[in-house]
Amino acid sequence: MDEERHPPGEELRHGSDGHRRIGRGVFLATVVGGATSLVWGKAAWSRVSSALGGAEAFVPLVPTKGWRIYTVASTMPTFDPGTWRLGLGGLVEEPASLDYDQLRALPRTTQVSDFHCVTGWTVRNVHWAGVRLTDLLARVKPLPTAGGLEFVSAEQPYVDSLTLKQAQLRDVLLAYEMDGRPLPREHGAPVRLVIPEMYGYKNVKWVAEINLVPEAEPGYWENLGYDQDAWVGRSNGYTS
């Protein structure tokens, strides 16, 4: 490849006349520091951001606001308020198909909770507004044979599920507002599931259908090896 002569460099005198081997030190220190940060990185990052005035003051400076947008399909679903429907069916006494206004007319609740992704990132203090799953369940009246809920996303083929007991936790929402604004498209407009106790892949975006089923079935990521019960810090190989 090289038909040209290598240019003469500067004179090298390792270890004499005050010469020091610094280049390799910079290289090795950076590689070692970076590699060990796999152990201390996340803790150090949260300490730095809290030292800079807490996550809420600091996060807006980061272009992502701490979020990452993960999708599995080639296009992101689009929300059309005119045609959008939320299907509620399966093992229920009163199946329903709600339009956006009907969904917004259900009892509204707000909560502030943290959002944890299984890949390691966390967004603190997200302000959600929406409908409690327990309120939704009270409306459709699950049959005694129902043991789980299937959440079908408009982003095909994404689907995930919860047991009835998990869905009845107090802070499980179908959220249509995030941080005081209608849920943005990339966060699952118009509604997404929020279950703060579990990793993000359980928090299905672009929810189009909720079906009561005999038991919770593996969803999109579960079929790729992720845990069915995605408890934060107690699943998917994490222990803390």
Binding site: M1, D2, E3, E4, R5, H6, P7, P8, G9, E10, E11, L12, R13, H14, D17, G18, H19, R20, R21, I22, G23, R24, V26, F27, L28, T30, V31, G34, A35, S37, L38, W40, G41, K42, A43, W45, P63, T64, W67, R68, I69, Y70, T71, V72, A73, S74, T75, M76, V118, T119, G120, W121, P184, R185, E186, L224, G225, N236, G237, Y238
Partner: protein
Amino acid sequence: MSPRPVAPGYVRRFSRTERVLHWVNAAGFFVLLASGLVLYLPSLAATVGRRPMVKDIHFWAGIGWVCALALVVLLGDRRGLLRTAREIDDFHPEDVRWLSGRRPAPQGRFNAGQKVNAALTAAFVVLFFVSGMLLWLGERDTRFRFASTVVLHDGLLYVSLGLLVGHLYLAVLHPATRHALRGMVTGTVREDWAQEHHPRWGPSPE
């Protein structure tokens, strides 16, 4: 092949292997930066969509980047590159003086800032590759999943963007230093410029 003649008044600063290595690294970095930003920034992710495809592009660009760098080293002038690595490693007392901001501090073929930048860039290739592979493997197997991998990959992005902005400013905009770009494109620089900015190098015309 005989060496390409150097124009009068010019001296050779970078060998072909050095230049190919630099531009392969730069090209790979920009493809990875563009595809990585689509994956990383919510507004871009929403506009572009097609995340599975962009993920594939980013993954294979990373593999291709490291393989291409290895190929350049294997097929190029390895002895010359080793000599370059020794130059980057070796800090003359004037280099230390240069880093502490005192002047004059006559510099060699690489000034001390270029040496530090080269060492950091090499380390970042390793760290970007390792953390990127861990992200890919971790999606498939919990044994490779660490809560801090994504912090490392992002941190590298921010620091390397800072280095890149400084590097581009000095190579393209800053009047005193931008002649160096010619060296990285054609291999040669003006002799008087070399004398002024790299007096301790003192190359002789070929």
